[in-house]
Each structure stands twice: as C-alpha cells, then as structure tokens.
Subunit: 320 residues, 2 copies
C-alpha cells in the first residue's frame, strides 16, 4: 500500500480506441466536439485518431479531416497511433499533431501473427527500421509498449519471464539507436490480467529495472479494469491509458467481446477519492463521457457518469 | 497480499436486490426459474425474496408465492430479508426458508432516519426486541450488519472509529442476549467505498477483533465494486454478498443512481483467475446471468457474461 503514488497521469485514448470500433459512421465534427470537450478536462495527452488502413478500420478513414479541424489547447498534446511507416508519414503530414513514437513488441507470437502477419523477428526488424525513420524526423520516443503482456486469446497465459525479456529487448532496441526509453507500457490487450498478475508482472519488471517508469494499458472486457488499475497503483504505477466513458468496450450485444480501455472518469474518480492527484476535473470528464454517449448513440459502460460523483454529494450536503 | 484467502464464499442476493428494484412486473415463475438456475451453480446461500411492505416495494408483493414455488436443493440455503418483526413472521410462516437472522445497525443516523424513520437509539431498541423474537423462534443469528459503513448520501463521510464503535455495539447487543456473533458484515450501501477505505475500515475492525469473521456487502454504483472486493481480499475478507449479472444496479437511465451489489460472476471470475476457490461453476453463473438479463428485459452491467471466461479460451486452445 505504501507504494501508492501521490499523483498519476492519464493518457486519453477514447477518441481513437472508441471511434475505431463504433459501427458509425460518426461525422468528423462530432469527433472534434468530443476531443474539444476532453481538452478542457485537464488531460495533458489525447490520442485523437489512428492512421491505419481505411479498408480495415473504416471508422478512422476521416483521420486527416478530424486532425485538420482541431484547435490547439495550451498544455494539451494531441497525439495519434500508427502501425507502420506509411501511417507515421500521414500523421507527420498533418503538421498539427504532437508526434510521439512508441516502440511496440508483443508478448504473444500468435497475436503478432494474426494482427500484423509477422513473426516476432520480423516485428523486431520493423521496429528497428521505424526507429531510424523517427530519428530522421526528430520524433521523440515516448515509450516501449508490450501488447498481450498478461495473456492472449491465441497464445493463452504469458509467462512473467517473457514480459521481462521483452522489456529487455525494447530497451536494447532503443539503445542500439542511441535512444533511452523513458517508459514501458504493459498492455492487457485482450483483458487477461487480474490484480494478482498485475502485481507479479509489474513487480518483476520493476525489480529488474527499478528506475524505468511503468505504464499500464488496461482493458475492461471482463470487468477487472479498475481492480487491475488499483493493483497497479499499489505497485507504484503512475501512468495509465484510459478511454472516456469506457469507449471502445461497450459490454453489450452489438460489441460482444470488444475490449475497451478502462474508463477515464471512473479511474479518475477512484484516484480522487483516494487522495491521488490526477490534475483532472471530474465534473468535466463526466460531461465529456455523456457527450461521448450521445455521439455513439448507445449506453457506454462507465459507472460514475450514472452514479454521480461524491464531491457533488458533499457539496450538496454543505449547501443544504 | 499475503492475507489473500485460499477460498471465499459468496451469498447471492440477486433475486432479492434485483427484483425489488426492477419496474416489472416480473411473474413469480420467472423469479423461480432464476433461483433454480442459481441453485445449480454451487452457491450455498441464495437470498430469494424480502418480506417488506408491498406498497413500498411492489416487486416483492409476490414473495410468499415465490417461496411456495421453490424446490429444495441439497446444500443450498434459501434465505430472505426482512426489516421488522412482521416481515420475519411472514418469512417464518412459509415453512420453506432457511431462517437466518441479521442484527442490523447503521453507521449513519441520517440514513436510518430516512430509511426507517428511527433514531439510532430507537433502531438499537428495535434490534433488542427482534433478537428476543429470533431466540423464541430458535432462529440462529448469522451476522451483524453495518449499513453505510463507508459513507452516506445523507451524512457524508463516515469516520472509521464510528464503524469500530458500532461493531462493538453489535457484539454487545448479541452478548446481552447470550448470543455470539459469528460475523460482521460491512456494507457500502450507497457506494462510497474505495479500495483505500476498505483497507482502513476492515483493518481497524480486524485489529480490534482479530477473530471476528468479516464480510463485505459492496455496491458498484460508481464502478469500484471489484476494486473494493480486491482490497477486501487483500485484507483477508472471505465472505462477500453479490448479485448475479449485477442485478439491482443497472447503471443506465431507467435506474440512474441505483446501487446494485457487486456482480457475482465477475467476482467469481476474478477469484478463479487468482486461484481463490469459490466453489462456483463460472459457466453456470454466466448462464444464470444471461437468464436474469432475459427476465428483466434490458442489459445488466456484469462484464464477464459478455467478455467470456478465460477457462473457455484455454479449453478452446487446448482442443486445437
């Protein structure tokens, strides 16, 4: 318990994770409206779009248009996801994004095969090539990212030692190009993590690299998102990816099995109530979550937007 | 982490918590069908109805009819809730229930005033009288119960010392009648708990009464149900109340703010994946949760019934 941090940062991924999975189509103006609302909540980084093949992800076909319509906010970085060099070059061409690169490997060979049609060795070679491209464009490396770090629908349970080894691989990959990785992001891509495995995996990585910042990218497909986040907090984790309203993982029929990130405002609420500073305005997050719900046109799984914040209840008591 | 128990028990409260809040009407036969499905999951105690004023809780007007239609299952106790002596006498008159009494006090005077129109002193006096009635009927005392132990919409934050004091009051109340309380149930009635406050409150009660069994009755209104349950597990808690599918707390418009128990199958899934024995069959729980969803006619918040169990994925991989 003593490792619980005094403050954390949340990277918002709702617009990217969420809108790529919604059947849509959602007009770019509505995506922009949500991003603008999020920019007023205290978030410092919002992943706004992904530059991916529009045939595979129709919901992101308008990525350039969305970015073109964004207004800059002081202190808010608009970032994007890409999966290959072509995507990166599209992101760079917008001239409006805060380009931050992620070096990504997977703890699951089966996942990489299905997702990228590559062997682990091919995936590693591709990261070497991308890193050269990032350096040529003077793009900072934000983090290393390990997908399927807690388990995989194709490869099953993932040994802790493998995650430690891939952390080493990522640090070596960066080192080969003279780059120091500031952070490693452990991703529960397919929602296999439990509080117990979060403690084990984070603990093993932290023990080997005590000075490496650790982030968690948690999915809530099986309801354990916040319990896993709490286990991460207990292990001193200070950075989380999250999605407003729980976008991208609506646990209902039309998205059965879809794995959305842990919900931003629920995570912020838990932290606020535990005295952990997030720098976020919970009321504005709740308003943004309700806007997201209006935009997608169906209920989103976030709870506190329905249950209401306790700060509000305390204020009502004080006033009444 | 070392206090995490090897096994836990879950008391199922879905039929009672859930059906009393649903707009309904839900035919008794459907309630019975859900209870029968639950009786096949390994649950040892199912709270099937509450005997309360049908004018205040129309969804429970058919309580006698539901109980009359139940079939006994070996090893499964069908229990009921009542809030006064009249309700107890109705429960006793069915002749079919496993009568187990709870001695109940609240950590919040404001809640007791609103809920029962009693002062704390009047509530305590009523419990003395009820205890005499239970003894006359030879009904065992299952537990002491402290509502609003983590906070209250009317009285706000609840000091830890008050919960410890009310635990003492409950033990003294039982002791005055020659009864030993086997268990104290700390209830987060209005969903104010966080993992941090669960640790503090459970820790304080446990420190004062190291041999007293502690149960948690957690609500998921603000999304922290499972995170709070995990914090309880870390503190050695071995007994939880829960509701199948998350019945009683659908976080959507028609039940805005409704506070349902933590979801049975999600809690069981978390425990199973952490190697904590529950004695429950997760597949059957998921089937029962889907049945509950059909009966109420709208989505229920439980996640694993949508996301699917990991055991199933492992089996599918093993099968090739």
């Amino acid at each position: 318990m003593s490792d619980i941090p005094g403050h954390i940062t949340i990277t918002e991924e709702g617009p990217r994770e969420g809108f790529q999975i919604e059947p849509g189509p959602i007009p770019p103006a509505q995506k922009i409206a949500l991003i603008e609302a999020l920019a007023e909540t205290g978030l410092r980084e919002i992943q706004v779009v992904s530059f991916v093949n529009p045939k595979r992800v129709p919901g992101m076909a308008d990525a350039d248009q969305v970015v073109a319509g964004l207004t800059a906010h002081d202190g808010v970085a608009y970032t994007a996801l890409w999966l290959n060099d072509q995507g990166f070059l599209r992101a760079a061409a917008t001239g409006k994004l805060d380009l931050r690169a992620t070096l990504s490997l997977s703890a699951s060979a089966g996942f990489i095969q299905r997702n990228q049609n590559r062997t682990p060795a091919e995936a590693l070679a591709a990261q070497h090539a991308s890193l050269e491209l990032y350096r040529a464009h003077r793009v900072p490396i934000e983090q290393g990212f390990i997908s399927a770090a807690f388990g995989c629908n194709f490869d099953g349970d993932i040994p802790v030692e493998r995650v430690v080894r891939i952390t080493d691989d990522l640090l070596a990959l960066a080192g080969d190009h003279g780059v120091t990785l500031p952070r490693i992001n452990l991703a529960d891509t397919m929602a296999w993590a439990t509080p117990g495995s979060v403690r084990r995996v984070v603990g093993a990585v932290r023990e080997r690299h005590p000075d490496l910042e650790i982030a968690l990218h948690l999915h809530d497909t099986r309801g354990l998102g916040l319990a896993n986040a709490y286990a991460g907090l207990e292990m001193g984790v200070r950075h989380f990816d999250a999605a407003i309203g729980g976008l991208g993982g609506c646990p209902f029929a039309e998205h059965q099995g879809a794995a959305g990130n842990v919900c931003t405002e629920d995570l912020a609420f838990m932290c606020e109530e535990m005295g952990i500073d997030t720098g976020l305005d919970l009321d504005r997050l709740i308003a943004a979550a309700r806007l997201a719900e209006q935009i997608v046109g169906h209920p989103l799984p976030g709870a506190v937007k329905q249950g209401g914040s306790l700060k509000r209840l305390r204020q009502a008591r004080a006033a009444g």
